[in-house]
């Protein structure tokens, strides 16, 4: 990682071991992450790391094409594809009440205040400007020029790291990391997390991950809007006592509406497609695990005990390859080797052909973690077994470190796309 000698935000002098600026609190890891070989996360102060503004995934970013992915060969056959759900210990969904003790007092809402969507100021550079009064930032590339109001160096022209290039967040029961990767100029992925108290006294944990469609206009805004909207919708529904699958369905529709609302006739490039993104969410409520998705972002179940039970993919891509396989027209190997394999057939956006939210619930009978991610990760660990092989054994105890590790795997693999990973321990650890 390049050594920053001064804070990119306020020009405060830094010590080599500084992780945050002592003056303004800027996350220096985020500032320096662009371009550099990935380093394994250190295990100091495992808590990270709401971004400086206290506002996670609420900002802008960019993402790779859903076209053919470069940099990895045809994926090996998916090992779990022929297994029935029962084989890996995921009970079919049940509608019975979660096992949470009814006599417990409702838990306080654990989501950070910053998670609440905030209107306006969606560009991190605006936030920096709004700071006002701080000394000129210096360029992280040349160290010579100061940074202009448009976010470029006044000496070498280099674009400065943006807040969304790398963000991390951890709440009780869930952690997530998003990264620009090594080949894209901005991060078009977004995530949003919540921990909410349920009316029956139990609690729910929410993770939403979205991936902007690069070939459309303003994909970074699309993913941010969708993540924010789905998260907010889930919080409201769950707090109001809605069943998780219904809440999930509703959240996907709400997220789609928020992306539709971004389409506008005054787009600078009228030829561009309307803003669009994928969306995948996971909610844990007591002993129930619910996922919902549109597009090709995924959720996986990775049990603690990798010997007794098989890990599983919980979502089915809305992609050309998945459709071919589903229709029996091609074998999985053939389908995924095709250049069209990664073309998505379902997305959120004004030009979506039809909106078909998918939801599913599971009752895992043993502990493990749910990994919710964009294709920036699963391009490098496609099958559940491959992913399980790189999920740390202590993932359930250290979800943030697990998410960091998985982002590292993708970066080491080439980081061709933006990478976003959320990790939810199951069952949700009880506070205290």
């Amino acid at each position: 990682m390049p050594q920053l000698t001064v804070c990119p935000s306020c020009a405060e002098r830094l010590e080599p071991e500084d992780k945050f600026c002592g003056n303004c609190g800027t996350n220096l890891a985020a500032a320096a992450v662009a371009r550099k070989p990935w380093e394994p996360p250190s295990d100091t102060d495992g808590g990270l790391v709401a971004p400086r503004s206290g506002e996670p995934a609420a900002e802008t970013a960019t993402r790779g094409p859903h076209g053919p992915a470069t940099g990895y060969g045809p994926p090996p056959p998916r090992q779990e594809s022929d297994a029935a759900p029962g084989d890996y210990g995921l009970a079919p969904p049940e509608r019975s009440a979660p096992a949470a003790a009814p006599d417990r007092a409702p838990r306080p809402d654990h989501s950070a205040p910053g998670v609440v969507p905030r209107a306006g100021a969606t560009d991190p550079r605006e936030v920096l400007l709004a700071d006002g009064g701080s000394p000129a930032r210096m360029c992280v590339a040349c160290g010579t020029g100061s940074v202009d109001p448009d976010g470029y160096c006044e000496h070498c022209g280099h674009a400065q790291p943006r807040e969304r290039d790398h963000m991390e967040q951890e709440l009780p029961g869930v952690a997530a990391v998003t990264d620009r990767g090594l080949r894209h100029h901005r991060n078009e992925d977004a995530f949003a997390l919540s921990a909410v108290a349920l009316p029956d006294g139990g609690s729910a944990v929410v993770a939403v991950v979205c991936d902007g469609v690069s070939s459309a206009a303003r994909p970074d805004e699309a993913s941010a809007a969708a993540a924010r909207a789905a998260n907010a919708s889930l919080r409201v529904s769950l707090t109001g006592g809605a069943a998780p699958r219904e809440a999930m369905h509703e959240a996907l529709l709400t997220a789609a509406e928020s992306v539709n609302a971004l389409a506008d006739d005054h787009d600078p490039d009228p030829a561009a497609n309307a803003p669009a993104c994928t969306c995948v969410s996971a909610v844990t409520t007591g002993d129930l695990l619910t996922v919902g998705w549109i597009g090709d972002s995924r959720a996986y179940w990775i049990p603690d005990d990798r010997t007794g039970e098989r890990p599983a993919r919980l979502t089915e891509d809305d992609s050309w390859a998945a459709r071919m396989v589903e229709a029996g027209l091609m074998s999985e190997a053939e389908a995924y080797a095709d250049v069209r394999a990664h073309a998505i057939t379902g997305w959120l956006g004004a030009d979506a052909v039809e909106l078909d939210p998918h939801t599913a619930s599971f009752q895992p009978d043993r502990p493990g973690v749910v990994v919710v991610c964009t294709d920036g990760l699963w391009n490098y660990a496609e099958s559940a077994a491959e992913l399980a092989a790189v999920v740390p054994a202590d993932a359930r105890d250290h979800p943030l470190r697990c998410a960091q590790t998985l982002v590292g795997v993708a970066l080491d693999g080439g980081g061709h796309d933006n990478i976003t990973v959320a990790v939810l321990p199951f069952p949700t650890p009880q506070p205290g």
């Binding site: 020029g145 470029y152 000496h155 070498c156 022209g157 280099h158 620009r180 080949r183 894209h184 100029h185």
Partner: protein, 441 residues
């Protein structure tokens, strides 16, 4: 009629059209910058604040050749009278007779007159004094116009120059020196009447003084043309606007040119304006829109990198010599990607104006070759011009080309040189070769 919905101070906007995506290893960034100013002129002789801040000098060729045929001098006189009628009340003006020396025709006191019904009438009376005799030394006309214009305390200074012959009574160096002395002090539109003048001389003067050049082959067309030119001049609201280009360390500006409404090379006209910034003169603006092609070489960077390749702004020098006012600005970016679909796309505006610039060039090269007797080169260049004009929808230029060559096949650019070409047609094509059309929507 007064248009109250517009303020007197024009609003400038700068829009950048480019494909910012470059493949790995590439380092050339192309962008078209469309600059539009609104809220200024085109109010058609509106009396108002703008009127008193402009001055215009008309320079009429009175060399001996203006008497052959005698209609030429008569038409020039009538055209000048028509132009004088178009001068708004309050505008400072003067008329200069040009021969091997320059002579004040009106008002004649070494200064300008202020336009009103009486002065306009006096000026028209004074035109009767114009008698063709003597030679041609355009540099002297320009120097006198400069002296007269600078005697008026105004923001907009403009000249209108009419000539019918070659600049035979001074050296090219003397003309060059006069142009260098006048550049940036006033703008000047030039017209060649008849066919005995030198296209490169007249377009060179217009180019140096940031004005238009055209041919008026038939003297009877002068009046309408002069009126039109004066109306355009009266529409100008702000002078001395510069296109400022900031580029980062390690980059090189390959070229900067105006590409609409005409092709005008600006690269060598840069005036340094602070660290890594330079100004290119654009003259005065009314309600109008112009396009500029900026080409910058940047150091190639890795996939995923992004940089600002240039910051383009319109600046106006402040009256008190302080920091110039930035009227508008746009960003030219470079983003390296491994997405071939993104990086191989050529921006429609860039492609169009690259074609228009080539069109102007091949016409000039083709006519040059034709004059030099190199008919093969002339045929191939003019054939390419026919093809480009058709592809881009530049119908005016296509029509002019058709008077010089017989078009066999437009699509392939197959042409035959005409055996006989009227001088007027050839000179019209050469003079107007730099006129471009905008992208078809």
């Amino acid at each position: 009629m007064a248009n109250f919905s517009k303020s007197h101070v024009p609003q400038f906007t700068a829009e950048v059209y480019q494909n910012e995506y470059l493949p790995e290893g590439a380092g050339e960034v192309n962008a078209i910058v469309t600059v539009t100013s609104t809220g200024g002129g085109t109010t058609g002789g509106r009396p108002g604040a703008g009127a008193s801040s402009a001055a215009v000098v008309i320079m009429v060729d009175c060399s001996g050749s203006m008497d052959y045929p005698p209609t030429k001098m008569r038409n020039a006189r009538e055209a000048t009278a028509a132009a004088i009628d178009t001068i708004r009340d309050g505008v400072a003006f003067a008329v200069v007779a040009g021969t091997h020396k320059a002579e004040e025709v009106y008002p004649g006191n070494g200064r300008t007159a202020i336009a009103d019904p009486a002065t306009r009438e006096q000026a028209k009376q004074a035109l009767r004094k114009l008698k063709p005799s003597g030679g041609t030394a355009i540099g002297t006309w320009l120097r006198l116009a400069d002296r007269l214009l600078s005697s008026a305390d105004v923001a907009i200074r403009h000249g209108i120059l009419l000539t019918d012959g070659r600049n035979e009574h001074e050296t090219p160096e003397e003309l060059r020196a006069a142009l260098d002395g006048c550049a940036g002090r006033f703008t000047c539109d030039c017209r060649g009447v008849g066919t005995d003048w030198e296209v490169k001389e007249v377009t060179g003067i217009a180019s140096a003084l940031l004005g238009s050049a055209d041919i008026v082959a038939d003297p009877s067309g002068l009046e309408a043309d002069f009126r039109q030119m004066m109306e355009t001049a009266m529409g100008k609201e702000v002078a001395d606007v510069s296109l400022r280009l900031w580029t980062p360390q390690g980059t090189r500006i390959k070229y900067v040119k105006q590409v609409a409404p005409t092709v005008e090379e600006l690269t060598d006209r840069r005036v340094e304006a602070g660290p890594r910034a330079g100004d290119y003169p654009t003259g005065s603006w009314g309600d109008e829109s112009r396009d500029y092609h900026v080409c910058v070489e940047v150091p190639a960077a890795g996939v995923g990198q992004e940089m600002l390749a240039a910051r383009v702004s319109l600046v106006l020098p402040s009256a008190d010599g302080g920091a110039p006012e930035v009227l508008s600005q746009g960003l030219v970016r470079a983003v390296w990607t491994d997405d071939m679909a993104a990086s191989t796309k050529i921006n429609a505006q860039v492609a169009h104006y690259t074609g228009q610039a080539e069109l102007a060039q091949v016409i000039q090269q083709g006519l040059e070759a034709r004059k030099a007797g190199d008919l093969d080169t002339a045929t191939s260049k003019l054939g390419r011009a026919v093809q480009l004009a058709a592809e881009s929808g530049n119908e005016d230029t296509a029509k002019l080309l058709a008077k010089v060559v017989d078009v066999v096949d437009v699509a392939t650019g197959t042409v035959r040189l005409k055996q006989k070409v009227a001088d007027a047609d050839e000179m019209t094509l050469e003079t107007r070769s730099t006129k471009t059309v905008r992208v078809k929507k």
